[in-house]
């Protein structure tokens, strides 16, 4: 027969184990917020995406509003197309929104920065609908190109 004490200790053990798994999921991996929730998709075409990766954050003024879902190359003009997965509670971006690839710190990860434009009915600037392309994109800064331009401008000054 099983004594009450053993049952109690086993129950406690299983409870601690489940609590540990929950802690790993919620506190460490933050699964509850990052993974779930309604999202919608926007697209953006860049000249150069630099070091942008799938699951890189998308930020407006430093606040994460979504994640990069997919990166692929347009077969016709060979420009990268980035699929943006935006949380549904941020669904009011204007068509004048611009998106640029920024770097967190000097050596940090690259992320997408959205610069929300304004809505203007007279100029016929409406809200971005799911599936729309963001027209105004700024490519990533590539250090080698910058150095190249710098050297070139130095040469032309001489």
């Amino acid at each position: 027969m099983v004594s009450k004490k053993i049952e109690l200790l086993v129950g406690l053990f299983v409870a601690i184990g489940i609590a540990a798994i929950l802690m790993l999921a919620l506190k460490v991996a933050n699964a509850g917020i990052a993974g779930n929730g309604e999202t919608y998709q926007l697209y953006a075409k860049f000249d150069n995406i630099g070091g942008l990766k799938v699951r890189s954050p998308i930020k407006v003024g430093g606040v994460v509003v979504g994640r990069v879902e997919n990166i692929k190359l347009d077969q016709e003009d060979y420009m990268p197309i980035v699929t943006l997965e935006i949380y549904s509670n941020y669904d009011n971006f204007s068509e004048a929104t611009s998106v640029s690839i920024l770097t967190a710190g000097l050596l940090g990860e690259q992320y997408l920065g959205l610069d929300p434009g304004f809505l203007d009915e007279e100029l016929d600037i409406g809200v971005l609908q799911p599936g729309d392309f963001i027209e105004d994109t700024k490519p990533a800064l590539v250090l080698e190109e910058l150095i190249g331009q710098f050297l070139f401008s130095q040469d032309s000054e001489d």
């Binding site: 053993i6 086993v10 053990f13 184990g17 609590a19 540990a20 798994i21 790993l24 999921a25 506190k27």
Partner: protein
Amino acid sequence: MLEKIQSLGHNTIYIIAGLGRAMMMLLSAIVQVPNPKKGWPLLMNQLFSVGVLSLLIIIVSGTFIGMVIALQGYTILVGYGAEASLGPMVALSIIRELGPVVTALLFAGRAGSALTAEIGLMKATEQLSSLEMMAVDPLRRVIAPRFWAGLISMPLLSAIFAAVAILGGHLVGVDWLGVDSGTYWSVMQAEVDWSNDVLNGVIKSVVFAFVITWIAVYKGYDCVPTSEGISRATTATVVQSSLIVLGLDFILTALMFTN
């Protein structure tokens, strides 16, 4: 020359026959209609001796391994001014590798050896034969609850190890060395992925639990029923399951974490 080939053949047949016996034992122990009324108390007792009694060593070693990784990682990362990455470094190395593997090695030493010795002594003192005489299936009565208890408790132990180790890393990194607490957690949350890291770690520990408990109960059930045989079987359990865990870990890591 001919003798060598013969001994090679002998060893091969011996190994394959052993694998076959282990498989037969496992199948006949776990493939059966469950009987909750009889099986539940047996499982409870085994969960106690396999799981609850292993808690102390798991918690203590988890805390210290987390603390050591935080300390070592900090001294290296601070040289690059990257001590903000201490959180993900501790969390990823614990969740992906050290949690499942160290727990498995400790589990093999703490619980696996005990299972083998217990079952081996039951065999040596002919308790298993007596059970059969009384028309009680020893596979069902002795092997099955121990196997399930190991399979259930090791993933839980591994999760507890990981959680405690990350808290230990927090203790050293934040409370002692002065990394910001918010940075420690938030950078960790940004880097650690639920399905990619946590779930794969759990899958690893389930695989290790299966292998270790299987080896432990089989070695006990199959041992030579003498005092020397029991001691050999116990050693073989710890050595073989540790080696297999380390080898399997490489294969699982190669499958899970390479793109």
